[in-house]
């Protein structure tokens, strides 16, 4: 068992890691220079949403409503109603949980072009506990028609997500990861609406991973390659709209699908993929393993919790091997 440390403790990587939140903040400032319709709305989270520099440059364009998430999302809708492009930023558990009805009625159903930025999602708040984890966000938001869900896998994809949301504003939720992750897109980051991207090709098993799990899926693919197993890794940066084509292709071309997400197994990426696979004709109905969070987390750092739930290289390798023995 890993020794427990503070919430700044991040899962270990051998490779260099990059900060999603810095990428997010830099990109937002950059587009705000070019487009005066860009505004930021937050819930006393100027610091935790990395908006300090943005506020220094655009003091009037940060609307801090205080600790009031329902109002925050409603205000975002009102700003969009008059033609502004609001980036509504808050810790993901409170943004999506506390203001879920506002996200449903004011953003998705009303089709106000608001960009909801779920900061520090998943189990990034580690030992602060399940109240501060945001593992339900994907499940909750997937049920809302008309809301895009974007989960960038690295800093470069985070930049793309911000840039694209600003240039083609539509109701969108972006998960902005708290801890640093390796560069998984290597200068060739792609982000196409409604598409997964293939970050590694292979033909034995497909791993569909999202966000922080993409780097682990690539590491797992390396381990498996050494054992003679060829793994296809898909980066599911778009959870909604869902890439049904890529899922169907993976189910047909490989012997099974493993999904990996720092989110609940009830209704998240894995459930989304399974609902596609289950409706395929019998021969294409590939077996699956769904890796995610299945209970309120025990106390522990993010790294500890990811290990606890098997959201690591070993967990993915084991799941792939299980599928190959079926």
């Amino acid at each position: 068992m890993r020794e427990q440390t503070t919430i700044s403790d991040v899962p270990p990587f051998d490779e260099p890691v990059f900060d999603n939140r810095v990428a997010f903040a830099e990109e937002l400032i950059d587009i705000a220079h070019r487009d005066e319709r860009i505004v930021a709305v937050c819930n006393d989270s100027v610091g935790s949403s990395n908006l300090v520099k943005f506020r220094a440059e655009f003091p009037d364009r940060v609307i801090n409503v205080g600790i009031a998430e329902q109002n925050m999302v409603g205000v975002g809708a009102g700003l969009a109603a008059r033609g502004l492009i609001p980036f509504v930023c808050g810790a993901s558990p409170f943004l999506t949980g506390r203001a879920l009805e506002q996200i449903k009625a004011d953003i998705a159903y009303s089709q106000h072009n608001v960009i909801l930025c779920g900061m520090s999602p998943g189990m990034a708040y580690g030992e602060l506990g399940p109240t501060h984890h945001s593992v339900e966000d994907l499940s909750w938001l997937r049920a809302l028609p008309g809301l895009d869900i974007v989960v960038p896998a690295d800093a470069e994809q985070t930049r793309l997500a911000v840039r694209q949301a600003a240039s083609h504003p539509r109701p969108t939720f972006i998960r902005v990861g708290r801890f640093k992750v390796p560069d998984v897109t290597h200068g060739a980051a792609k982000l196409v609406r409604g598409r997964f991207s293939t970050v590694r090709d292979g033909d034995d098993v497909t791993v569909i991973a999202t966000g922080t799990m993409v780097s682990r899926a690539l590491q797992a693919a390396d381990v498996l390659a050494a054992a003679g197993v060829s793994v296809r890794v898909l980066d599911a940066a778009y959870i909604a709209p869902l890439d049904i084509e890529a899922i169907t292709a993976a189910a047909g071309a490989t012997r099974g699908i493993v999904t990996a997400e720092e989110a609940s197994v009830s209704g998240g990426l894995g459930a989304a993929v399974a609902s596609v696979v289950a409706q395929l004709p019998a021969p294409a109905r590939a077996p699956m393993r769904i890796l995610g969070v299945n209970e309120f987390a025990p106390t522990g750092s993010t790294a500890y919790l990811l290990d606890h739930f098997g959201l690591n290289v070993d967990g993915i390798v084991t799941a792939v091997k299980e599928l190959l023995t079926e």
């Binding site: 009037d60 109002n71 409603g74 009102g78 008059r82 009625a105 004011d106 089709q111």
Partner: protein
Amino acid sequence: MMIAAPDSLRDWQAERSEIAQLPTTAAGERLRARAQRTRRSIIRMIDQAGAGHIGGDLSATDILTSVFFGVMRVDPNEPTAPDRDCFILSKGHCAAALYSTLAAAGYVDERELDTFMAPGSALNGHPSRGKVAGVETSTGPLGHGLPVGVGTAIAAKLTGSDARTYVVTGDGEMQEGSNWEALMSAAQYHLDNLTLIVDRNRLQQGARTEETNGLDPLDTKLASFGWDVREVDGHDFGQLLTALTTPSDRPVAIIANTIKGKGVSFMEDRVEWHHKVPDAEQVRRALAELEPA
């Protein structure tokens, strides 16, 4: 599907300008006649649909009429014009009152009112943005309109527009905590371009507000949140117009004391008419009572 009004119905701007020229008393008379037509329309819509929230529709009618025909600077031909005033009916269950008012104002074809809540109609039981011109945001769940109104008011400030935002809430709706979040924000952001009108009919779905989760003293509460509070008879057009047009350096909250079911004697101030549907005889009696004097 957006419903646009045919040209023949677009006499509203002229009527509005005319009303604006009149002294308050004469303007009030014009608005009263307009409101009675809207009430008859509401009765017919709910009769036809077999559903609706008749009590709150009738309590809010004079407020909606005053706002749309007395103060709003909007053009139904250009419902999303950048400088438009914004209106948000936060008590979205009173959609029939809103649709009837929007029809009178030229946003909605009056013939479409017959489709209220019919399968496939744009006129859902609660207003849906994108389906009906003039609906700034979808409402229905309570406590949503004021935060959105704070957003439109902040946006007007940021873009240098002198547009105003008007939000109508129910009084029972003020039990929703989100409203109080928004009230704080409006004061914090000095939103002197925002007007809240509380339809204070003192009844909510199941009982009197004060027997359920008391709001009084609502004026003191709103004032302590930094709002300029004005209390009026919500069926007196002179008082409504004065409260709506008197400028302030703060956000303005108008507590409009109203009667739920106003205008139909057997519905007035009776809790069961929150969403009861009148039978044929009751419809006949209601329409007779609402005939112009």
